[in-house]
């Protein structure tokens, strides 16, 4: 059938060329690409600007910044140690409280709870994560801190006051209260991710343990926890990262005193808190650079923790590219 080879098929001539089709694809691809690059640019810019704006302080204090305890805006001398201490200590207290509780909840929800209870209970625990930080702080100031100051803390101080970490006067606000509220705040994170990890453990592992006559708890201990361990550790690390970066609730409860003392009941200061309190009122000198250097330190710590946690937490179903290698 000889048709002039230079003409388009009748069909194409009938429907005509859809101009938007030719232009639409490159434009749309470009837009989505630009949007994706925005994320790259933002992160790069963030790290760059933090580094750039903290240079005056880095140059001035060098590595001594990390070990100096002096924070004096008047004399324009700054040291990070109290804040690093406050940040880390409050977060560790939070972990000590939150991890056992979170694991208990995760185990209960994934292994023991009756089916009808799982969704509602899980939902309620998630609700803890939805409450804004400032509301936690408000409740902390007026309910939690007074409660702790009048009951739990005196109990420890009276009976165990010999031990340094329980020594000293009890104010209510301080490292311990901040730690408790942080624990409540990171509990949903740790328990949700741990629960996922436990649910991902293949059923035949549990069945093997049960077939050997293991009690329910032994099944969990032998079959589930070891396999879920990387995910659980990842969950804890993520929780730690959250606690380190938490600002409002900690600012309202930690006491805001840049001192390092042995007792957990003493007031302290976290990196996020000092930035929140002092940033807007910075006058001159390298005050701001010092604050930004603190922010940089916090950023690096949380970044490293975040990356570490990601390596440990395997999400099921991710990583497989669809459409590749169709047979």
């Amino acid at each position: 059938m000889a048709l002039p080879l230079l003409s388009l098929p009748d069909n194409v001539k009938k429907h005509g060329r859809q101009g938007s089709g030719k232009l639409g694809d490159p434009i749309f691809t470009g837009l989505t690409f630009a949007a994706a690059c925005t994320i790259l640019i933002l992160m790069a810019l963030l790290v760059y600007m933090l580094f750039q704006d903290s240079l005056p302080s880095i140059r001035e204090f060098g590595l001594g910044f990390l070990s100096s305890e002096e924070w004096d805006p008047v004399k324009d001398i700054y040291g990070a140690k109290p804040f690093i201490y406050g940040t880390v200590a409050s977060s560790l207290i939070a972990l000590v409280i939150a991890v056992p509780l979170s694991l208990g909840i995760a185990i209960y929800l994934s292994q023991f709870a009756p089916r009808w209870l799982r969704a509602p209970l899980g939902f309620l625990v998630e609700l803890l994560a939805a409450i804004p930080s400032v509301v936690y702080g408000l409740w902390g100031i007026f309910v939690l801190a007074p409660f702790l100051g009048k009951t739990i803390e005196p109990f420890f101080a009276d009976h165990l006051g010999g031990i340094p970490i329980f020594s000293g006067p009890v104010y209510g606000v301080g490292l311990f209260s901040a730690g408790v509220v942080l624990a409540i705040m990171i509990l949903p994170t740790i328990s949700a991710i741990s629960r996922e990890s436990m649910l991902n453990v293949a059923r035949d592992q549990k069945e093997a343990a049960q077939a050997l006559g293991a009690t329910p708890w032994e099944t969990v201990r032998i079959a589930v926890l070891p396999l879920a361990r990387p995910g659980i550790i990842g969950a804890v690390i993520l929780g730690l990262g959250r606690a380190l970066g938490e600002t409002m609730a900690v600012t309202m409860l930690i006491g805001n005193r840049p001192e390092i003392s042995a007792s957990i009941f003493a007031p302290a200061y976290s990196i996020a808190s000092v930035i929140a309190n002092e940033f807007a009122e910075v006058t001159a000198g390298i005050h701001m650079a010092a604050l930004i250097e603190l922010a940089l330190i916090l950023l690096v710590i949380t970044l490293v923790l975040n990356l570490f946690a990601r390596l440990l937490i395997q999400k099921p179903g991710s990583g497989g590219l669809k459409g590749k290698g169709r047979a």
Binding site: G21, G24, F28, T29, T32, F33, A35, A36, C37, T38, I39, L40, L45, L46, M49, L50, D53, P100, G104, I105, Y108, A113, L121, L124, V125, L127, A130, I131, P132, S133, V134, V135, G137, L138, W139, V143, I184, L187, S191, T215, W217, V220, L244, G245, T247, M248, A272, I275, A276, F279, A280, I292, L298, L299, T302, N306, R310, L321, K322, G323
Partner: protein, 284 residues
């Protein structure tokens, strides 16, 4: 005999462990109940029409309200959405639909990292970026800070929802001669719409409760919002300011503000999850 004893001991241990787990669950719920009931009871007593509609009164005078803070929060969330939603959805579409392995991996990694950056650091960043250059605190800066916070969440949720749309639909659309961009917008995104909307609502719920990024971007104000390039009040910042003040009247208002804020956040979070649940059932 010995096996019997052993067995009983193991069973007792199991029972004990079980009870500990139940106990943890109960213990975790106690603060939840306490916080919500305090917010409701303390907040309700100070919540009235004045509170919702009036400006704060000067120090020393009682009365007044957080009307400007509520409006301010809405404005800030609005600005954040205008910035965060289009960029987030398009970025999510890029991750899901255009598979360049190295770039996608990098963007995904950085999006997850960005969502883990402490909110106060985002505030510092936007301060350096906008407040210093504009030489003023502004609603715009606050909105940008919140927008940056919502960006990774929206992008990843969009990506996940788009990936759940089966390839057979993309094929069907392309086989009809529908161009790729139209396929993605009118078929893929539309089919995933319910899930994407849920992700958006959750992201909005999260940023509407944020305080730290606003502290030195939008700052605060005692008047109605005046302009995008001026400081603006917001509910979380106002709650914070009142909470740490020495005035009992302001403490009451802080509770009332918390009630409004918690209601907003819960309605968005819970509502979106219910809505999503319904949509998921429909798609099956």
């Amino acid at each position: 005999m010995k096996n019997d004893l052993n067995r009983r001991r193991r069973n007792a241990r199991s029972r004990f462990a079980y009870l500990l787990c139940v106990f943890s669950a109960v213990l975790a719920l106690i603060p939840l109940v306490m916080i919500i009931s305090y917010v409701i009871f303390q907040g309700a007593s100070a919540l009235n029409l004045d509170f919702l509609t009036q400006l704060p009164k000067p120090v020393g005078e009682t009365g007044g309200g957080m009307g400007n803070a509520i409006v301010g929060s809405l404005i800030l969330v609005g600005i954040a959405s205008v910035i965060g939603l289009p960029v987030g959805i398009l970025a999510g579409a890029y991750l899901a639909e255009f598979r360049s392995p190295r770039l996608s991996w990098l963007v995904r990694l950085l999006a997850d990292i960005l969502s883990g950056v402490p909110s106060i650091i985002v505030g510092v960043f936007v301060y350096a970026l906008l407040v210093l250059t504009m030489k003023r605190f502004s609603a715009l800066a606050g909105g940008v800070a919140l927008g940056i916070m919502m960006l990774p969440t929206v992008a990843r949720t969009t990506e996940e929802m788009l990936r759940m749309v089966p390839d057979s639909l993309r094929e069907a659309s392309l086989a009809l001669g529908i161009p790729r961009w139209r396929t993605i917008i009118s078929i893929v995104i539309k089919t995933a719409g319910g899930g994407i909307l849920t992700g958006i609502m959750l992201a909005i719920a999260r940023i509407s409760g944020e305080t730290a990024p606003l502290l030195f971007t939008a700052l605060n104000s005692r008047t109605w919002p005046v302009g995008l390039d001026q400081p603006v009040a917001s509910l979380p910042v106002q709650i914070y300011t009142y909470a740490i003040s020495p005035y009992a009247d302001w403490h009451q208002q802080a509770w009332a503000g918390s009630l409004v804020l918690v209601l907003m956040v819960l309605v968005l979070s819970v509502g979106s999850k219910l809505y999503f649940g319904k949509k998921m059932k429909m798609a099956r």
